[in-house]
Amino acid sequence: MKVTILHLYPDVMNLYGEYANVAVLCRHLEALGVEADVQTAGEDADFSTADFIYMGAGTERKQKYVLAAAPRQAEGLRSAVERGAAVLFTGNAMETLGASVSSAAGKVWPGYALADFTTVETEKRSPADVVAVSTLWEAPAVGFMNKCSVTRGAATPLFSELSLGFGNEEEHGAEGYVSGNVFATHITGPILVKNPDFTDLLIRRLFARKNWTVPERLPVLPHEREAYAVTLRELRGRIGREG
């Protein structure tokens, strides 16, 4: 059993330790006896064999290098999604999945156009701890975001509301995007390390795509659940103090 993972732009879109998302997914797959074949690529990416496609956050400038190549890569990514490949874009990589990204000065870059939403960058950054209510799993998601943009028109958000953090359009509002096996969120960093439930959901989707039987109980790796519990406790304490 083998899963092919395509990690896009690992050298430039890796601002908050995002490589760990791929590492932790591999660890979970290996614990299930699945071989993970990780391929890395940038402008020259070949999407044809990928089961899972990942891109992390970068600086605003580096995101533009990605966007410069997005229109000619869009067809390849779209076909992969139509074949059932799972996609996860985090941080400002999420913005590239939409129709366009505009700078604060008004310059517009077309995106991969896998979704209709559009993003406008702002002069101000909004760094924030995040506690989010997921539309797909029960436990709250935790993490951090460091965005300087507003995304409009994401009709199917990944998180219905945030008790901490900035949503697509406003503080505490709906956040991210999900459609089938395409997942996107502005939460940065190792979101899969911090949220084992999200990792488990992706594993189930990957098994389903491969027509493999999903085990009833997925492996629980050391420290992950404990780390999650501490972060959630700390962040909830913060909500209590603020509210």
Binding site: E60, F144, N146, G189, A227, E234
Partner: protein, 442 residues
């Protein structure tokens, strides 16, 4: 008249503040309210040297002050580290006559990289030293390019920039700026042709986005680079470390001046070189500078020696959310080649603000501890599970790693058993939790 009043109020508040132990930003804040353009009106000395960058500001400024003072100059500088405009105003006004003339030959400022433009709206440095731009406290700083964009508007055309030639992003400040002096380290014993570290912020040219080529790296993205696409490249340095032997703790500046290192780290070498460059530009001779920085021991005390049970310990103060600061200390432990135990503490991520953000743990090259001399790794603090999870991906054998929920538990265990050297890596925010439980050596 407003200037006179502002200076009087500032001095008075500072005097009262000192009696009750208050910080140094409030007096300046009031003075700026009374006379918003006071920093433009005060007559400043002919040398104004500012230092900014992600790492090494405090150390560099301390060494510049020592060099200038040894040469007989009177130096006014923000030793307390209050580096935003209010603190700078307090410093200047408390050292000014009531007529508005600042005393001293040199005003020396450690400048906050994000707020430099607020201070320098009213006056500008004659020399602006920029040490480096790294990932540092991304929770509030955004990222290095964001910090670059915040510093750029603070640069006045008349200012002489003193730039780290080996940092491709810092070097961009020279574009379109006439007065530039460069410092850099030549190829030496630590240079490598392969990049080391968990991430590579020098992979792309900061000027055009093209793939960057490196002749060699000193560490992270610092080294000798050239962008084939746009030509952005490492400039020839005006001030150079021409040879360096870190193991022996020796370096040579400008091919002739030998310096011994009290702290054998490449980061210390860069701080020394930056201080040397600033001193030189302020007219201090080589002999005087060499006599000061030879074996210079920093007063800001980032390294603390102690005993705990039968162990001798060295605490290497790092900064949470700053992977370069961590990597510095981890490299130091690895280079020491002493059989040892390493203790890592992550309890409160920041002293100044709340965050539960731990992504930065994944940017630190903890794999540096995967060597024979490191016999045991002890992890502790509130975020011990996040640390343990990170260490699961370092290749360090699991049997070498021990976890405790609190610093006290880890200290008790270390006190009770073992006599190996102990190295501790943690942040200002957490270090006293251990230091309160050990016997410090003077």
């Amino acid at each position: 008249m407003r200037m006179f009043l502002a200076i009087v109020v500032c001095k008075l508040l500072r005097f009262v503040g000192r009696l009750v132990g208050k910080g140094s930003s409030l007096p300046g804040q009031y003075a700026l309210k009374i006379c918003p353009d006071i920093l433009q009106k005060v007559k400043l000395p002919s040398y104004i040297i500012a230092v900014t960058g992600s790492n090494g500001k405090t150390s560099t400024v301390e060494m510049i002050a020592a060099i200038l003072r040894k040469s007989g100059k009177t130096v006014v500088y923000n030793e307390e580290g209050s580096n935003q405009i209010e603190g700078v105003a307090t410093l200047i006004l408390c050292n000014s006559s009531l007529g508005g003339k600042m005393r001293g030959d040199v005003l020396l400022l450690e400048s906050d990289e994000r707020y430099a433009r607020l201070s320098f709206r009213w006056f500008h440095p004659t020399h602006f030293v920029i040490t480096n731009l790294y990932r540092d406290q991304l929770t509030r700083n955004g990222h290095p390019e964001w910090v670059y964009d915040a510093i750029a508007p603070a640069i006045h055309p008349d200012t002489t920039l003193v730039l780290n030639a080996d940092d491709p992003l810092v070097s961009c400040f020279a574009r379109g700026h006439e007065k530039v002096k460069w410092f850099g380290v030549d190829r030496c014993s630590i240079s490598t042709e392969e990049h080391h570290g968990v991430y590579h912020d020098g992979a792309r040219c900061p000027a055009c986005g093209g793939a960057m080529e490196y002749e060699f790296y000193h560490y992270e993205h610092i080294g000798r680079y050239r962008c084939p696409a746009c030509g952005h490249h490492r400039q020839d340095a005006d001030f150079s470390v021409t040879s360096l032997d870190l193991e022996a703790g020796k370096l040579t500046i400008g091919g002739e001046t030998e310096i011994s290192l009290a702290f054998r780290s490449i980061y210390n070498v860069y701080n020394i070189l930056a201080a040397w460059s600033a001193g030189s530009l302020a007219g201090v001779d080589r002999e005087t500078m060499a006599s000061v920085i030879n074996n210079y021991i920093l007063k800001n005390g980032r390294m603390v020696q102690f005993t705990l049970g039968r162990r001798h310990g060295t605490l290497l103060t790092s900064k949470h959310e700053n992977s370069v600061a961590y990597d510095t200390n981890l490299s130091y432990i690895r280079a020491a080649k002493t059989p040892c135990t390493a203790l890592i503490i992550v309890d409160s991520i920041s002293r100044k603000y709340f965050t539960g953000e731990t992504s930065w743990l994944w940017d630190i090259d903890f794999g540096l501890l995967n060597c024979g001399e490191v016999k045991q790794v002890i992890l502790c603090g509130r975020y011990v599970n996040d640390l343990a999870l990170r260490f699961d991906y370092t290749g360090i054998p699991a049997e070498k790693i021990v976890c405790y929920d609190t610093v006290a538990q880890a200290a008790a265990a270390l006190r009770e058993s073992g006599n190996e050297e102990l190295y501790v890596v943690t942040c200002f925010s957490d270090r006293d939790k251990l230091l309160n439980l050990v016997q410090r050596e003077q």
